[in-house]
């Protein structure tokens, strides 16, 4: 790690001013940033402690939703009674992520901004377009088993590694941030980017910004999160599914599906949602909807297994939500 300064700003405006300096990075729980600093992937010379901003806490909103402060720890959010009873998909996603120790440290804002765990990104002896733009992507012809199958580019196969953001994508969450040009609200589904020819940029958040909160609209339907991984616990998703389902008289009235572990961003499965809305809530329609989404997959030989895995996981998750006996 290189030598660095540390500042604990008094308010959000001061944090934005500090973060607008080159070489500055925001730190909250540090679970991702400190690790990347040890690896030499992140080399900040100024850390701005956004925990000093007192942004933790979950509040009810006037419209019946929730406002989650960016400093809220993953463990507190997962255990919040309102999240557990009204947004189980979010509790389940958080509880499936990382370990008890990491969830106690990891913040909501930091979780949104965590970097990919692609092994080429974290290995500074290798090329990586995300870490060193223009250096190349060894994953295309190398190790890609854990990497993306949707929305990929020739420049990057990295995935967004998180679980929380996948649930937030299915919940139509909105990210609130203070930027150097003032406050912004960005729908979660638009917050993370696809790699295209600029994989070094993970999100649309302008440089120098501080994420202040995430808001959830009022809860609807039933929801849950399922995650397929190589170990039973404490592993990143190979594929995960967040689903919110409303069924009336056996017909799908509304459905929202997001996939994790398969793309550079939480992947909202809009084609599947369109295919399913108005259809009978049966395994057959669920399979057709999953196929409609996954037809656009561009897997490598190593990660082609993710496509049928995602299909089965979507169908299984939706069946679980209909109360079908699995």
């Amino acid at each position: 790690m290189k030598e660095l300064r540390y500042e604990a700003p008094a308010d959000v405006a001061a944090a934005v001013a500090l973060l607008s300096r080159p070489g500055a990075r925001a730190i909250a729980g540090g679970t991702n940033l400190v690790d990347l600093m040890k690896l030499g992937v992140e080399t900040p010379d100024l850390l701005v402690d956004v925990d000093a901003l007192d942004l933790a806490g979950v509040e009810d909103t006037a419209d019946g939703g929730l406002r989650i402060g960016a400093g809220t720890r993953n463990s507190d959010l997962a255990a919040d009674p309102r999240v557990r009873s009204r947004y189980p998909v979010l509790s389940r996603a958080l509880l499936s992520a990382a370990s008890g120790q990491l969830r106690n440290a990891a913040s909501t804002g930091g979780n949104l901004l965590q970097r990919t765990r692609c092994s080429y990104f974290t290995d500074t002896s290798k090329a990586c377009n995300k870490r060193v733009p223009g250096s190349g992507c060894p994953a295309v012809e190398g190790l890609s088993r854990g990497l993306a199958v949707l929305g990929t580019s020739e420049h990057c196969l990295a995935t967004h590694p998180g679980d929380m953001s996948v649930a937030l994508a299915a919940l139509d969450a909105v990210v609130h941030a203070e930027t150097p040009d003032g406050p912004v609200e960005i729908p979660l589904v638009d917050f993370h980017r696809l790699p295209g020819d600029a994989p070094q940029t993970d999100t649309v958040l302008p440089a120098g910004s501080v994420v202040t909160a995430v808001s959830l609209p009022p809860s609807r339907g039933v929801s849950t999160y399922r995650k397929a991984r190589d170990r039973a616990s404490y592993a990143f998703a190979l594929v995960s599914v967040a689903a919110v389902l409303e069924v009336e008289d056996g017909v799908v009235r509304d459905v929202r599906i997001a996939l994790g572990g398969v793309a550079h961003k939480p992947w909202r499965a809009t084609l599947a949602e369109q295919a399913l809305t108005g259809q009978p809530a049966t395994a057959e329609s669920f399979r057709a909807a999953a196929d409609a989404e996954l037809a656009q997959a561009t897997p490598t030989a190593q990660n082609a297994f993710k496509v049928p895995l995602a299909r089965r996981l979507v169908v299984g998750t939706l069946l679980e939500l209909t109360g079908a006996d699995l």
């Binding site: 010379d45 463990s75 255990a79 009873s85 440290a105």
Partner: protein, 170 residues
């Protein structure tokens, strides 16, 4: 450029005034500056759990925590759980259940185990808790599956997991 800070770390109830490089992790501060070597450096990347300490009563990986960020907050290490003459209940249970072999991961397992018992008492669900709302009105009852899931952030290369699980349940 100021790359060091003077700060107070409160560890096991005692205040320590230190001047530390901002890069210093809580783990290195404990081990190298305070001589508290109970917390172990295994992977140094938050993957093994050997460095687990309580921060404000909650378990965290000390290797991923910068000391400067926890100034003034209460840190509890394995040295604060019990003493050789007066072991804590979980330490007694580890002996009873043969919950270790080489012992390198044990301090992290103990600190994590104490936290797991508290989290369940507080009604926190886990990934294997079937009914997320079950703990809203009281503790979550731990069983084998719950302990294995909740302790998954602590690795044991000797494979003493059966004993560890039994000790946390004892």
């Amino acid at each position: 450029m100021t790359t060091r800070s003077s700060l107070t770390l409160t560890v096991n109830g005692t205040d320590h005034a230190l001047e530390l490089d901002h890069r210093t992790t809580l783990l290195d501060a404990l081990r190298e500056h305070l001589g508290l070597t109970g917390s172990k450096k295994g992977c140094d990347h938050g993957q093994c759990g050997a460095c687990t300490v309580l921060l404000g009563g909650r378990r965290v990986n000390a290797c991923l925590t910068l000391a400067v960020q926890v100034r003034g907050r209460e840190v509890t290490t394995v040295e604060g759980l019990g003493t050789p003459e007066d072991l804590s209940p979980l330490q007694e249970a580890f002996l009873e259940c043969d919950a270790l072999q080489c012992g390198y991961c044990t301090s992290g397992q103990l600190v994590s185990g104490v936290a797991v018992q508290q989290e369940a008492a507080d009604g926190w669900p886990s990934a294997v808790t079937e009914d997320l709302t079950a703990g809203l009105s009281g503790p979550v009852v731990l069983d084998d599956a719950e302990v294995r899931e909740r302790m998954s952030g602590n690795l044991c290369r000797c494979g003493a997991y059966r004993g560890i699980t039994a000790a946390v349940l004892a």
